[in-house]
């Protein structure tokens, strides 16, 4: 417990330094810290010495060896895209799923398979807030609910805050779709489980998302609203290079914003994050650059392989070979983020 402190120390080391990743792991049922319009806010001093807020925050500390031992049963693989069993190209076969998806619809297909097979009884997801650039956490328990949450969000969403909701509902098999920082938080929950809530068993499936960075939700919203004067925000996308723009759907039109203009809104937490491919997830999913309509699928654990197997068996997912030069390219990009974070 030496390295675990309380809210005061979380403020000092993370929040006051602007290093919050907006993952949402510290908010939920706590009366002292809350999320408001995309910002993590401390309301009052808490005197608990070993707080879950500090313990589960991905930015306070992270022990890759301990996480690796728990997740993979091996030593940590600190290079490339981390430890994996297999890398594939994948996409959803269901047309509605594929259509709603920003990439290949793989995440939605995996979740539906996991739910239908009984591997999970609920899923912690990120849903869109109508009209706003940021998302929010959502506990889905039906196929329809899961499908409604597809699509990329480019700003931090505090979505892990609703994990508490799922736990309070007594859910015992919760699947979580998580950014790399949130995957780290989930693994810390399982490792330290300060209140003996059986968090490891109760979160049997973590689907990680590739992520290079996310916008600070409040800054990004203010930028779109006050600087660009954009009202109701719809879908947001970054088309593949060399476009170098952010496309924002708003009130029936699409506005292209140069990436250079929005880069200052990237969370500082993302600048120091070494993890692009959610290296501690059971399965990681990302874009497949150069093959529209397809995803990159990294299978890392037995649980990950299991859910992919279920999806294939249910014919919700199809896979294809992921060429080795693409894999090298992915590893390079991942390595670059690791290097940038270390600087």
């Amino acid at each position: 417990m030496d390295q675990i402190h309380g809210l005061d120390e979380l403020s000092r080391r993370v929040l006051d330094k602007g290093l919050c990743a907006s993952c949402g792991s510290c908010v939920g049922r706590c009366p002292y810290v809350t999320e408001f319009k995309g910002r993590t806010v401390v309301l009052h001093r808490c005197t608990v010495e070993h707080g879950r807020c500090f313990a589960y925050c991905p930015m306070t500390f992270f022990d890759p060896e301990a996480a690796s031992r728990m997740v993979f049963g091996t030593r940590a693989e600190a290079s490339g895209i981390g430890r994996y069993e297999d890398v594939k190209a994948s996409r959803a076969t269901d047309e509605t799923v594929a259509e709603a998806a920003q990439g290949g619809g793989t995440v939605t297909s995996l979740l539906i398979a996991a739910l239908n097979s009984g591997m999970i009884d609920s899923a912690v997801l990120t849903s869109s807030i109508p009209g706003e650039a940021r998302g929010r956490g959502f506990v889905g328990t039906t196929v329809a609910e899961i499908a409604s949450c597809s699509g990329s969000k480019f700003a931090g969403s505090h979505s892990l805050s609703v994990l508490r909701e799922a736990l309070d509902q007594g859910r015992s098999r919760i699947g979580v779709v998580a950014l790399p920082c949130q995957v780290r938080s989930l693994r810390k929950m399982a490792l330290y489980d300060l209140k003996q809530e059986k968090l490891r068993e109760r979160v049997p499936l973590v689907i990680g998302l590739f992520c290079n960075w996310a916008f600070s939700p409040r800054q990004f919203a203010e930028f779109l609203g006050k600087e660009l004067g954009l009202g109701h925000i719809g879908k947001i996308d970054i088309p593949p290079p060399p476009a170098q723009v952010l496309e924002v759907e708003t009130q029936g039109r699409t506005v292209s914003v140069p990436l250079d203009l929005v880069r200052p809104m990237i969370q500082d937490a993302c600048r120091v994050c070494p993890d692009m491919t959610a290296e501690f997830a059971d399965v990681s999913v990302g874009m497949y650059e150069g093959r529209p309509g397809w995803n990159t699928l990294v299978v890392r654990t037995a649980a990950g392989a299991g859910v992919v197997g279920e999806a294939l068996a249910a014919a919700g997912l199809e896979t294809d070979v992921f060429p080795s030069e693409n894999l090298e390219h992915l590893k390079e990009a991942s390595e670059q983020k690791r290097t940038r974070a270390a600087q």
Binding site: P31, Y32, F36, K37, V41, T47, V48, R52
Partner: protein
Amino acid sequence: MALISKDDPGRELLLMGNEAVARGALEAGISVAAAYPGNPSSEIIGSLAEVAEDMGIYVEWSVNEKVALEVAAAAAVSGLNALVAMKQNGLNVASDFLMNLNLTGIRGGLVLVVCDDPSGISSTNEQDSRILVKSADLPLLEPSTFHEAKDMVRFAFEVSREINNVCMIRSVTRISHARGNVTLGPLPSARPKPHFDTNIILSALPASLTHPTAHRRFRQAKRLLADSTFNSYQGPDTPELLVITCGSGYLFSQEAVRLLGLESRVGLLKIGTTWPLPEELILSRLRDAGRVLFIEEVDPFLEDNVLELFAEHNTTLPKVSFLGKKSGTVPDLGELSPGLIIGILADLMKVSRPHADEAYSSTATDALRNFAPARSLAFCPGCPHRASYWAVKKALALDGRDGVVFGDIGCYALGVLATGFHQSKTLHAMGSGTGMASGFGMLGRFGATQPAIALCGDSTFYHAAIPALLNALHHQSDLLMIILDNSATAMTGFQPHPGSSVNAMGSQAPAVVIEDLCTSLGLKTVIGDPFDLDESAVTIYELLQESGTKVLILRQMCALVGAKKGPRRYTVTVDQDKCLGDECGCDRFCTRVFRCPGLNWDVSLKKARVDEAICAGCGVCADICPSHAIVRERA
């Protein structure tokens, strides 16, 4: 029949000092009484209001002290007897008018009773009001007992009518808020008809004419007070020590002398007419005293004036050594107590003070140290202010710009303490929070980014915050004024104010509605319920994002008024299965942070529970428990 209006001359009653003052005013045949409530003065007008209808007098809770004095003065310039009462802070508000009224004088009787609060037990300061009478050229009386308080009011009216000017009475907490025997006198049967003599112009200007008149009236007062029976001497003809005392100091000194067995060695000169002084009486006593000790509360007023008198007559007087606040013998601040005076007298007279046996004393010390836990002041159980302050705190945290709350005078002044989460950052005078916020809201031009909140209660709003709000509006100051409207002047005993639909005498009155007033000024005005914590916090947050002057009324009835009006709204309990106690991780939020006295932390179970004898049933705590363990059910 109410107590103070009993027509039963000779009957002895147990009256509070303030009730004795009120009775004195009735015996003096007042027609009009006015005040703004303020402890320790509130019961004077409060008790007169109760009997107003029976006694055929007019009593009002005025909007502030200056208006109260003006209302009373109008009656007095029309030939009636009028009483006005206020606390020491209130005199500051009224003094602008007083310092001009004293120049024109009056034609009936006008007695101004000021109740000082040594040690500031229910005040922000402990200022000594007496100093003002010197610059105002007005006579001053100070009662020492309850019966005397009554008789002094009657006498003050005689003096006032005689000199055609205001006569002031200074009381203190230990007279006003204490009780003692008062023997009733007769009540008058008839009152004069008011008439303003339009042949006379009551103009303070020009001072070159009116100031000499004030001086003349003062000299007249001096002659009237010189032989007053409110001044007395008891003790040996040539005492070793002459104690000169007034007000509450008299009974304390008298007891100290008796308790120490010093009756044959120490003389006690009690002064009831402290300004202008009964000079002959004092000079005659100074001739026979080698040592003088002054016992009075707060400032060395009596002490200074006697020293001045001594200096004027020093060629004809023997050498006298003076002890008091100036010599450091008596503390120059705070309340007096018998223990303090016993100690001073025992030291000066070299006698031993009464002492308990040693074993008992050490047990007593242990009891005080280890068995009498401190009791910080806190908002009452069910008080809406606790909820309002939490909403303010939360809103400021959500806003994140380190906003500043400018506080004001009322129960909610406790917002500087933990019970209000230390949210109020300033506390001065009535309405000054809004005035300061108005100024702070102008500092954006210099780069200030902190939002300003002015926080004030409903009664304070009417009293002094309206001009400050107009100032803010006119100068486009960026501030949010939050009016904590609990529908009462709660701090002082629930007196009505201009927002009430009933007046001091219990008659229907048109209410000046805060939101109507604000809206008519073009101010953005929002009304919220402080018991809805989250909604209130978000409303405050959103208003803080807007520029200009905005008003939020957080309205919820004072819990004490609510308790009088009906049963609790909720029965609140803690579900012992759901409360996770120390295991929760909430760090005892309900008790450690929210601190409502109705909640307890059961030390043995390590869980929260409700004290059913204390809980007021507001139900707010049900919304703050993260485990939803606090359950409220409609009572």
